[in-house]
């Protein structure tokens, strides 16, 4: 009886071994997965910098009827986000809406499209190659040079 039990048990174990090996072969080896590595552990604070807040606000501004209106809506969203964030806008100066939109609509169509932040992001190379003259851009906005906080030791 004991002998029979031992044989049955051995067969059961052997079956288990085969199943485990097959499963491993089908699904690959188990990995020691450190879940901490998928956390944003290195990028402390990046999303809270003024530049990031500005960019994300502009990228997520609602689409308007035209690229130029979308561009101005993005600027308004950036201003509102900076107020909420108590940060500094990435623009030194922006033209009033009417003047901004008028200057934008005077651009060739391809350049107007690049005024919409999401289009510009998705067509960065084309937009960079098709850059208006600085004096044209200066009628719409002037970017603010980044000055880093003066940390003290």
């Amino acid at each position: 009886m004991k002998k029979t039990l031992a044989i049955v048990a051995s067969l059961a174990i052997a079956a288990t071994v085969i199943i485990v090996v097959v499963v491993r072969r089908n699904h690959g080896p188990h990995h020691h997965h450190d879940s901490a590595k998928t956390g944003a552990v290195e990028a402390v604070g990046i999303d809270q910098t003024d530049t990031s807040v500005s960019m994300m606000a502009m990228l997520n501004a609602p689409e308007q009827a035209t690229p130029c209106l979308t561009a101005y809506a993005a600027i308004e969203a950036e201003g509102a986000a900076m107020k909420l964030h108590d940060g500094k806008s990435m623009f030194k100066w922006v033209a009033p809406k009417d003047a901004f939109v008028a200057a934008c609509e005077a651009l060739p169509v391809a350049q107007q499209q690049c005024m919409a932040p999401r289009y510009r992001r998705d067509h960065g190379d084309d937009c960079q190659k098709n850059r208006p003259m600085p004096d044209v851009l200066a009628k719409m906005y002037v970017g603010l040079p980044i000055v880093e906080p003066n940390y003290q030791r």
């Binding site: 048990a9 080896p29 998928t38 402390v44 604070g45 530049t51 906005y141 980044i146 880093e148 940390y151």
Partner: protein, 361 residues
């Protein structure tokens, strides 16, 4: 005894399979692409590519989630930092791309340094780079059709689009200059395998946080190449963002070792005076005036290590501990303004203007 007889096969079935031995021997691989381990996309993938009797292995490992700002700015790239490398059939790494400051799998660092002790014959390494290009292309095609594996297609497709170093006119031109600098009395004969190395560091950058035609900051990344009698190893330091050599990145400038170096290692900032090419290990943040750094500090550190053979030398000052790296010098604006890059900005008179890329020393 009977219990032990029963238990041993059971325990082995559960625990004896190696978790790292996923590189199937060449002879057991099918011709072309072999997906060796795709069981856990949150961990990474391992694949191989065989052509006739030779093969290379492609490994990718998933690192930290990128900040939301990076993900929104480059939605075509993986949401996580990903390390990717190619390993030859002898287990030596010949191309590695590091997403962040250290390797997701820390064992890679030692394996990469060991690879410098076992350079391949020139013809083998040239073949390896060619196979890697084919592997990357085939892998990208296969991965993009699978929702779980799609994030791994990006870096592979970027690699596949590169020329292999011996067919890249820029790299070929570098070789001519490097060989011209080889001391005549030690040419070839005494610079054998395991011997001296020449290092090149190529800086790439792109505008970041761009809207309209205004980019308030720049992201930079360094491609480090190790040469002996052919290009043996590439270490691409992505510095948390888009990787050097990838689309959207522009080549800026180059630094090189200027001399042939022995007994080098490739690791991060806390290593000794012979370490080359690692990035900063402090926290990563754009407010880099504190106890932290940003991508351009990484790049400055990497380039200065390429040039100086490790921390120290030139205007690279580490306060004697290999950690408090700081570089002070003219900026890239051409207006004579000075910049200050550091891994721990707060220790080094703060970082100044490091939102822009460094110059190549």
């Amino acid at each position: 005894m009977m219990k032990l007889t029963i238990l041993v096969p059971f325990i082995c079935a559960v625990g004896c399979t190696s978790s790292v031995d996923t590189r199937t021997p060449v002879a057991d691989l099918s011709q072309g692409l072999n997906m060796l381990d795709t069981s856990d996309a949150s961990w990474g993938v391992t694949a191989a590519y065989r052509e006739n009797d030779h093969a290379v292995y492609l490994e990718q490992r998933v690192g930290a989630m990128k900040p939301q700002a990076y993900r929104e700015e480059a939605p075509e790239e993986p949401a996580n930092e990903i390390d990717m490398r190619f390993v030859d059939e002898n287990g030596n790494t010949f191309f590695v791309q590091r997403g962040g400051d250290g390797y997701v799998d820390p064992t890679w660092a030692q394996e990469i340094n060991d690879s410098l002790l076992h350079p391949a014959a020139d013809s083998d390494r040239i073949r390896d780079f060619g196979l890697a290009q084919k592997a990357a292309g085939e892998f990208a095609k296969a991965a993009i059709t699978n929702a779980d594996l799609a994030p791994f297609a990006f870096h592979a497709s970027q690699y596949a689009a590169r020329a292999i170093p011996t067919q890249d006119p820029t790299m070929v031109a570098k070789v001519a200059k490097i060989e011209a600098s080889r001391p005549t009395d030690t040419a070839y004969g005494n610079y054998g395998f395991g011997g001296s190395w020449w290092f090149e560091g190529d800086l790439y950058d792109k505008g970041t946080s761009c809207v309209f035609w205004y980019c308030p900051a720049r992201h930079s990344s360094v491609a480090l190449w190790a040469y002996q009698t052919t290009w043996q190893l590439a270490v691409i330091a992505c510095n948390h963002g888009t990787c050097a050599g990838g689309s959207k990145m522009s080549y800026d400038c180059n630094s090189n070792s200027g001399v042939w170096r022995d007994n080098v290692t490739i690791s991060a900032e806390t290593n000794g005076s012979t370490s080359i090419g690692g990035g900063c290990l402090t926290s990563y943040s754009w407010d880099s005036g504190g106890y932290n750094h940003l991508c351009n500090d990484d790049s400055a550190y990497e380039l200065w290590q390429v040039k100086n053979g490790g921390p120290g030398g030139g205007s690279l000052d580490t306060n004697g501990d290999g950690y408090n790296f700081v570089y002070t010098g003219p900026g890239t604006g051409g207006d004579g303004s000075w910049v200050n890059y550091a891994c721990t900005c707060a220790y080094n008179n703060n970082c100044n203007n490091d939102w822009s890329r460094p110059i190549c020393p």
